[in-house]
């Protein structure tokens, strides 16, 4: 069929092409594919599909190197979410997705719609969402703007998930000036399904109707996809009208209706209209099925008058789904949606002819040859070169950093670290998230990994997100290895066996050699760690161009890990619980101090090499801990991370604020190490365990070649954290540590709480 330009559409000029973010080379490729000049509509479609967000043009070659298989992986990368089997014919679908750019412009709606999108990615697989997590990065809370972004994102995430009724059980929040102009907002969703109910977004069956489901289409977020592929600048403010507004109420109806549709057997495929809306959902489904499709934009239910095909195809209006139904089942599909007060409109069909065709009534406004629209997208492997400035920082001799005189009392230093917003309790955040709805959250936010029980079985899943961007900044490969290894330790500390990961690569502009270097090295490190720990990658998301006038963010490859807890009896928590228990340290203390929160928070220094992460040791400590837990020898387990051993021990005695304990610690065996490295260094693969049976724990550790030692005892009524190193010893009242740790963020937000709340009043739900 012949494609005719719509009257009123702008002419294709170099300026228009540039505006659509296409390079001349990419435009030529398009012309070659079409063998003619594209229409305005076609230009819009391609600019969206070939945007970084949809096409992965700078990351796909790297992602191919990730391990993606295991006997229990039912669905790897390439679908809306990854899926792994967890036994009894059950499976979990999970995926993480970024909404950094929208959240930088409008924190509340940006973060809220991020949650909406990831929920849809999971329930379109036929899975019922059972848990949400989120991984957040902001600048320093000293800035009012940052406090606004922080409060707004948290409220947006909470209001959306709370309203849909999915518990938000975990996540992480890190504050660092590196994220000042460009916050990171990654949302992860985990869903439960029966293996045989697994649904894939693959269009098939010539003559099958394509149905638009859910909310009507407005002019929201047009070009959101290409927006997410540009640096943030003052110019972004001009793009504000692109902001999408979320409606969690409609999402809840859509969730129920979609699951009912999938189980009804009336449909063959379903996909969220996410980034690049109708365009990418229809093109991706067609490509996966290697079939042709035709879409009539006049049939798309519109929210506004006179919307053009261009707008209807590229709108990112939320809470919409694209469904391929079985021919002749249109009425049944409509009936299910009506039950949930949702609309369904047949807008096209699957055709034999291998084309992607868009018509407006009887005018063809866009037509591409088959799946080449998706497959012909260029990929790039730009130059990679490490920044010499970072090399210099990494080489710095951090032991030479002079101590502040207050540090003569390490307990003072400890209190400072506990007040660092990155280390301090995030209760201010997760108290705004409903984490008990669906009555399956056994271990909620605040500990190592969250644990959600699987009803009708004795099993549970352990969930966590992790990444230390400072490590990745100072050494991308090591930093990415650490992110995976730390996630695995967190899972193990809750009693779970690490199974698989999803990941969100948040990086700067890949066209800059030093950024592409970070991306390449981080993916390589992630692959090494996933191989060593036996946790394949089942999916993820790439967010590039995370830059602002103040520069690029720390390279932040967020790891979302799922673990399997074999028995409820294995579920383990971080806080010390029983008086007299022995405290055993698994792993070895070292003199490493580089890249630590200590250097950053107390000395304002971002330098030194991050701690080494031996992947054999990482695997061994996880295996040893899991065996010790299965033997019933472990009462509590807590990973050593930011702030090192001292912070980990402090957390064990006061993390559970209603049940403060105390401890007597003796580290004399390491008296030869620099004291601040011993207490606050962040040596990897260490776990603090409390146990009534230290001999058993140590014997198990030995079997796995894991160094271990009794370093003290739980003193439930002591009310002090006492630390001895050789002749020297110190003590701090636990209530003081608790106050520092639990009140730090509330005190900061108090200053501006009212401003935040009123700025958001209109957005409040519930």
């Amino acid at each position: 069929m012949t494609v005719t330009a719509r009257p009123g559409d702008p002419a294709i000029t170099p300026a228009l092409i540039a505006e659509h973010g296409l390079t001349t080379e990419e435009y030529d490729r398009l012309v070659a594919m079409l063998d003619r000049t594209p229409t305005f509509t076609e230009l819009g479609i391609v600019s969206a599909l070939w945007s970084e967000h949809c096409s992965y043009k700078h990351s796909r070659p790297l992602l191919k190197t990730l391990p993606t298989t295991a006997p229990y992986v039912l669905q790897g990368p390439g679908e809306n979410a990854g899926v792994i089997a967890i036994g009894d014919g059950l499976a979990v679908a999970f995926k993480i997705e970024s909404h950094n750019h929208p959240s930088a412009v409008e924190p509340y709606q940006g973060a809220a719609t991020g949650v909406g999108g990831i929920l849809r990615d999971v329930f379109t697989m036929g899975a019922r969402p059972i848990a949400l997590l989120n991984s957040l990065r902001f600048g320093s809370l000293d800035s009012a703007r940052v406090r606004y972004l922080f409060a707004g994102c948290v409220k947006g995430i909470g209001d959306y998930g709370n309203c849909v009724g999915i518990p938000t059980v975990g996540g992480e929040v890190v504050f660092d000036p590196a994220y000042e102009g460009n916050p990171i907002v990654n949302a992860m969703c985990v869903g439960l399904l029966k293996e045989e109910e697994l649904m894939r977004a693959v269009a098939e069956g010539v003559g099958n109707p394509i149905i638009a489901v859910g909310a009507r289409t407005g002019r929201d977020g047009i070009h959101g996809a290409s927006f997410a592929s540009e640096d943030l600048s003052e110019a972004s403010d001009a793009k504000r009208p692109r902001v999408q507004v979320g409606d969690p109420f409609t999402e809840k109806l859509l969730l129920e209706a979609s699951l009912e549709l999938i189980h009804s057997g009336h449909i063959v495929a379903i996909q969220d209209m996410g980034a690049a809306g109708l365009t990418s959902s229809s093109a991706e489904m067609a490509a996966r099925g290697d079939v042709g499709v035709v879409i009539d934009t006049l049939k798309v239910p519109a929210r506004e008058e006179g919307m053009t095909p261009y707008e209807l195809l590229l709108s990112e209006s939320q809470e919409r789904m694209l469904v391929v139904a079985k021919k002749g089942r249109e009425e049944q599909v409509r009936a299910i949606l009506e039950k949930w007060d949702l609309t369904a409109a047949v807008i096209g069909e699957v055709i034999a002819e291998p084309v992607y065709r868009v018509v407006e009534g009887d005018r063809v406004v866009a037509e591409f040859p088959g799946i080449r629209l998706v497959t012909d997208c260029p990929t790039y492997e730009p130059e990679a070169r490490e920044s010499s400035d970072i090399q210099r920082r990494r080489a710095e001799h951090v032991h030479a950093v002079a101590e502040r005189e207050e540090e003569a009392d390490p307990m003072w230093t400890l209190e400072q670290l506990l007040q660092s917003p990155t280390i301090a309790s995030k209760r201010w955040v997760f108290q705004q998230y409903d984490h008990t709805v669906r009555t399956s959250t056994v271990v909620g936010p605040g500990g190592d990994a969250a644990v959600v029980r699987i009803r009708g079985t004795d099993r549970a899943v352990a969930l966590t997100t992790d990444c230390n961007g400072r490590y990745v900044y100072l050494d991308p490969r090591e930093g990415a290895r650490i992110a995976v290894a730390e996630a695995a330790r967190n899972i193990a500390c809750s009693g779970g066996r690490p199974m698989a990961i999803t990941n969100n690569l948040n990086f700067g502009n890949p066209k800059r050699p030093e950024v592409y270097y970070q991306l390449r090295e981080a993916v390589a490190g992630m692959a090494e760690a996933c191989n060593a720990l036996g946790t394949p990658v089942t999916g993820g998301n790439v967010s590039l161009y995370n830059e602002s006038p103040t520069g690029a963010v720390y390279p932040t490859p967020v790891i979302g890990m799922v673990g399997l807890v074999e028995s409820h009896a294995h579920i383990t928590r971080a806080p010390f619980a029983a008086d007299g228990d022995s405290i055993v340290l698994l792993g070895e203390n070292t003199d490493e101090l580089g890249a630590s929160e200590y250097l950053c928070h107390l000395h304002g220094i971002v330098a030194g090499a991050p701690p080494r992460c031996d992947l054999t040791a990482a695997r061994a400590v996880v295996d040893a801990l899991l065996v010790a837990i299965a033997d019933g020898a472990v009462r509590s387990a807590h990973d050593c991370a930011d702030g090192g051993l001292a912070v980990a021990l402090a957390e064990c005695v006061m993390m559970d604020r209603a049940h403060l304990t105390g401890a007597e610690i003796d580290l004399s065996a390491w008296a030869s190490l620099p004291l601040r490295a011993l207490l606050f260094g962040e040596a990897q693969n260490r776990i603090v365990v409390s146990t009534p049976d230290p001999a058993a724990v140590i014997a198990t550790a030995r079997r796995f070649g894991v160094p271990s030692a009794v370093i003290g005892f739980v003193r439930a009524t002591l009310g002090q954290l006492q630390v001895r190193v050789g002749e020297r010893h110190w003590s701090a009242p636990v209530f003081r540590l608790a106050d520092a740790y639990h009140e730090a963020i509330p005190r900061i937000m108090q200053r501006s709480a009212s401003a935040q709340d009123v700025a958001l009043v209109s957005d409040s739900v519930g």
């Binding site: 200053r751 501006s752 709480a753 009212s754 401003a755 709340d757 009123v758 700025a759 009043v761």
Partner: protein, 85 residues
Amino acid sequence: MSVFRVAVHVVPRRGLLDPQGKAVADALHTLGFAGIHSVHVGRHLVLEVDARDESEARTQTDRMCAQLLANPVTEDFEIASVSRQ
């Protein structure tokens, strides 16, 4: 029949704690706005309704407020304006 644009104010009953109003006032102070005595936050609804004339539009809207738009226990409402479109 013609279309009327009706604006309605729904405000928290006097005497009831108005945390939003207080939060706004505090925030304005923090932002350095001096001389603010009080702030009250209510709801502002704009409806486009068919009616024969203005008075019908009013009575219509009155009934909507009584039935749904305002909570008789905690809120008062007033029709702020009615204009033919």
